[in-house]
């Protein structure tokens, strides 16, 4: 495939429409574990890469979908800028298009925002081969419906992300992690929420194995004064955050099964006798195979929240939470609009999408 040319992708879509055979879209092919298992002819975007436009003073970068997250991060870092959503679960081959399609956000989620908060525009190749641009390269833009944010997290079911324009953020002058011994997870979560209500430059807070980690990022003066109030032991460049981001932390080792539970940040931890890693200031709780899924579901039905099978051996069933019938109907209609022949990653997210 020619670099800078999406005609090969368009041809592949044309061929799939003719044959009726589905396509399995791949960025770097590193995160196939996510979502449901699908059958489809692989279509790789890894040759469709490169920076389209980057002007650091605009805090905006436009990049092709097949660009690796690593190479993009390096270019941003050279200009002391970064991706605010800290794309998680990346290996060296993981692409930015894949990160947009997955819609996963790193530990800064509650403080800096999620993936769609940083998306300003996309160029999309839909299932009927149309190449269209939505949103733009400016921070404020309300012309037309917000298709670019709709596409975030759609797992390729609405189109191939050819290009994306992202808002980037300046790298903080200073970043410290405070570690506090808090044996009880619910107490740690209360602490996170209390601190999040104060004007401190917190950009992450997580708990694992009796230790609460709170990350402060910003001007040296601001970080220092907040650290004095919060207390705990201080470290610069704590590897903990990167380990959580890439799931290289010992908590994620071994097991075949990983459950992701999303709740209101202050909700008490369900099955707290089982191993759990809490991130996002309390809103995200990771469980391994020791936790009983039925127990978690029972707890969630009382407290509210979601459970998804982030990694599991059996991916033929639904892995994401069931949707309300009315919203499912709307989503099916959207699928028909973007991918009328249902050839793009059909079933990767839900059976029927």
């Amino acid at each position: 495939m020619q670099e800078n040319d999406c005609s090969a992708l368009q041809e592949a879509i044309g061929a799939a429409r003719q044959s009726g055979g589905p396509i399995a879209i791949e960025g770097g092919g590193t995160r196939k574990f996510y979502g449901r298992e699908i059958v489809g002819k692989p279509l790789s975007l890894s040759d469709y890469h490169g920076i389209v436009e980057y002007n650091p003073t605009e805090l905006v970068v436009t990049v092709k979908g097949g660009t690796t997250v690593d190479s993009l991060s390096q270019i941003l870092q050279d200009n002391r800028q970064m991706l605010g959503f800290e794309p998680p679960n990346c290996l060296p081959d993981s692409t930015i298009g894949g990160s947009i399609a997955l819609g996963l956000s790193g530990s800064a989620r509650p403080y800096r925002g999620n993936v769609q908060d940083f998306v300003l525009g996309v160029r999309l190749l839909t299932g009927d081969g149309r190449n269209m641009r939505f949103g733009g390269q400016v921070i404020k833009n309300v012309a037309g419906f917000d298709i670019s944010r709709l596409v975030v997290g759609s797992l390729g079911c609405l189109g191939i992300v050819l290009e994306v324009s992202l808002k980037v953020i300046p790298m903080p002058e200073c970043e410290w992690t405070l570690s506090l011994e808090i044996p009880d997870v619910d107490q740690a979560i209360s602490k996170f929420n209390a601190l999040s209500g104060k004007p401190y430059p917190i950009t992450a807070s997580a708990w694992c194995d009796g230790v609460a980690s709170i990350r402060l990022s910003g001007s040296r003066a601001g970080v220092k004064s907040a650290a004095q109030v919060i207390g705990g032991s201080i470290s610069e460049d704590d590897p903990f955050w990167n380990q959580v981001n890439t799931h290289a932390h010992p908590f994620f080792e071994g097991g075949q099964k990983l459950l992701k539970v999303l709740q209101k940040p202050s909700a008490p931890v369900i099955a707290s006798d089982k191993p759990v890693l809490v991130d996002w200031g309390g809103a995200l709780r990771w469980y391994r195979e020791e936790a009983d899924e039925a127990d978690l579901r029972q707890g969630l039905s009382e407290q509210g929240g979601w459970l998804e099978r982030f990694c599991s051996a059996d991916r033929s069933q639904e892995v994401f939470p069931a949707l309300h019938p009315a919203t499912m109907r709307i989503k099916q209609r959207l699928k028909d609009v973007f991918d009328p022949d249902r050839i793009l990653n059909p079933g990767r997210m839900y059976n029927g999408l």
Binding site: N141, G144, F145, E173, P199, P201, S266, T327
Partner: protein, 484 residues
């Protein structure tokens, strides 16, 4: 359907206090903040609760009656312009605060609650709701969601879409659906973002859960005074490039400075070509450090003078001129027309120079007041509606400015929405395929196109005709009417 028929139909299912049908009262609803466009609605429905909304939507669905949702009616693009054969569904009575959850820093509110009231209600908790459109004292959160409203502080704190975490929506098909969730993210396609900014064309928001932020410990403002618009524009880009995200960074050009100064005596230098107001917030130490930094950047970009508000009183004084700039311009011209294009920051100087040229070409004065940090321009075109043809000329100049914004890589609307006002300008920002897709997406939630029909997205036929008509400058009668 005529008003009497509609009134009869609705009075069978809704209490009389919820219906407005006499002509004098209907007049109140004939326009929103864009008063150049007016239309008398068939009927106004003022629901007290979600059941009323659902009932009204059911009657509309069964009788194919168009529905125009309305918040406080402060919108600037005619998004709430009534449909002559439809109802206006005014959510102003549903204005209660339903829940404040201080621990999770969220508030659940009804759509008619005003933007500023949310912040007032949670002030004692050291929290506030960040988006602050200039109409925040009057505009409603439901309207903010429909338009994805911005404000002075969105450079640092985001637009409405970044600050609303969930909405409850009544659909025209009779469902009540929850989009988004208090747990931050939710499964499936991201319908919440699609709903925000959809200009009332996908559903009626009957409840919203918004994010509350901790009030910054301190906020201070620096005024940079410049001899050239270009230097002021360059300073904005330089501040951002240096790694600081100010809470807000606003720019005014000389005509705007003079108008504001004459109106409120904010202490602005009337001979300056441009001023920048840069607000920094955070902890005391942080702000002190950043102010020094901004001062340096301004000096490096040839600022003639720099003033730092010495106390809260002076900070408010500095802002008073900026905040009063629209009414101030209203004093020097019988009418003005506000444009809302957005451009990349690096193009500010160039675009302002071109606006000046266009302004001379059309013989209409302009004053520029805008959110420089976001590249969101608000050129005000000064005109006199009593002079025949001047409004049409003004609209044409506005459209030229918007085309310029798109050419520079920007957009026709940064925060005011498309509504009826910029519907023809959508023709040059999007292709036929893209506009067709917008229509198709809208039909996923509103199959019969009953919600706010004729707004925001032009039909293919309209664009074809518009592009053809564009040859004959200024000869288009009633440019706001739908042309099939």
């Amino acid at each position: 359907m005529k008003t009497e028929q509609m009134a009869k139909l609705f009075s069978q299912v809704l209490p009389d206090r919820c219906l407005v049908s006499n002509e004098a009262a209907l007049r109140t609803f004939e326009c929103d903040g864009l008063s150049a466009f007016r239309e008398l609605p068939g009927l106004v429905v003022l629901p007290d609760n979600i059941d009323h909304v659902m009932t009204a939507l059911r009657v509309c669905r069964e009788n194919a009656i168009p529905v125009v949702g309305r918040g406080a009616g402060t919108g600037l693009s005619g998004g709430a312009l009534p449909h002559p054969e439809g109802i206006v569904l005014s959510l102003s009575r549903m204005n209660r605060l339903l829940e404040v959850d201080a621990e999770n820093r969220i508030a659940r509110v009804e759509p008619g609650m005003t933007n500023l009231k949310i912040s007032k209600e949670v002030e004692h908790l050291g929290l506030y709701y960040a988006p602050d459109p200039s109409s925040q004292i009057a505009c409603s959160i439901g309207g903010n969601i429909a338009e994805n409203s911005g404000g002075v502080h969105c450079l640092k704190y985001g637009l409405t879409v970044h600050n609303v975490i969930a909405v409850k929506v009544a659909t025209i098909e009779g469902d009540l659906i929850d989009l988004g969730h208090q747990s931050l993210d939710s499964p499936g396609f991201n319908l919440l973002s699609l709903m925000v900014g959809s200009e009332g064309m996908m559903g009626i928001v009957v409840e919203a859960t918004v994010k509350l932020l901790p009030t910054p410990e301190c906020a201070r403002v620096v005024m940079g005074i410049f001899d050239s618009v270009q230097n002021a524009g360059d300073s904005v880009a330089a501040v951002i490039a240096s790694g600081i995200i100010p809470a807000g960074i606003e720019m005014m050009d000389n005509p705007a400075i003079r108008a504001a100064e004459a109106f409120v005596n904010a202490g602005y230098p009337v001979d300056a070509k441009a001023i920048l107001l840069c607000e920094l917030d955070g902890t005391e130490d942080e702000v002190t450090q950043q102010i020094r930094h901004v001062e340096e950047v301004f000096r490096d970009n040839q600022a003639k003078d720099i003033r730092i508000a010495k106390d809260e009183h002076e900070r408010q004084l500095f802002w008073s001129g900026r905040k009063a700039s629209f009414p101030a311009v209203g004093r020097i011209s019988p009418d003005y027309y506000c444009i809302d294009g957005t451009i990349p920051r690096k193009a500010i100087g160039e675009v302002l120079t071109k606006i000046e040229q266009l302004s001379e070409e059309y013989g209409l004065r302009t004053a520029n007041v805008f959110h420089a940090g976001d590249g969101n321009l608000h050129p005000l075109i000064l005109y006199d509606a009593r002079i025949p043809g001047q409004l049409e000329k003004t609209i044409e100049l506005g459209s030229k400015i918007l085309q310029l914004c798109v050419e520079m890589g920007g957009t026709i609307t940064g925060e005011h929405g498309v509504g009826v006002e910029k519907i023809d300008d959508m023709c040059f920002q999007f292709t036929d395929d893209e506009r067709e897709l917008f229509h198709a997406v809208r039909r996923c939630l509103d199959p019969d196109s009953l919600l706010n029909p004729g707004k925001a997205i032009p039909t293919l036929a309209r664009c074809a005709e518009h592009n053809a008509m564009h040859v004959h400058h200024g000869e288009v009668p009633f440019p706001h009417l739908e042309r099939f």
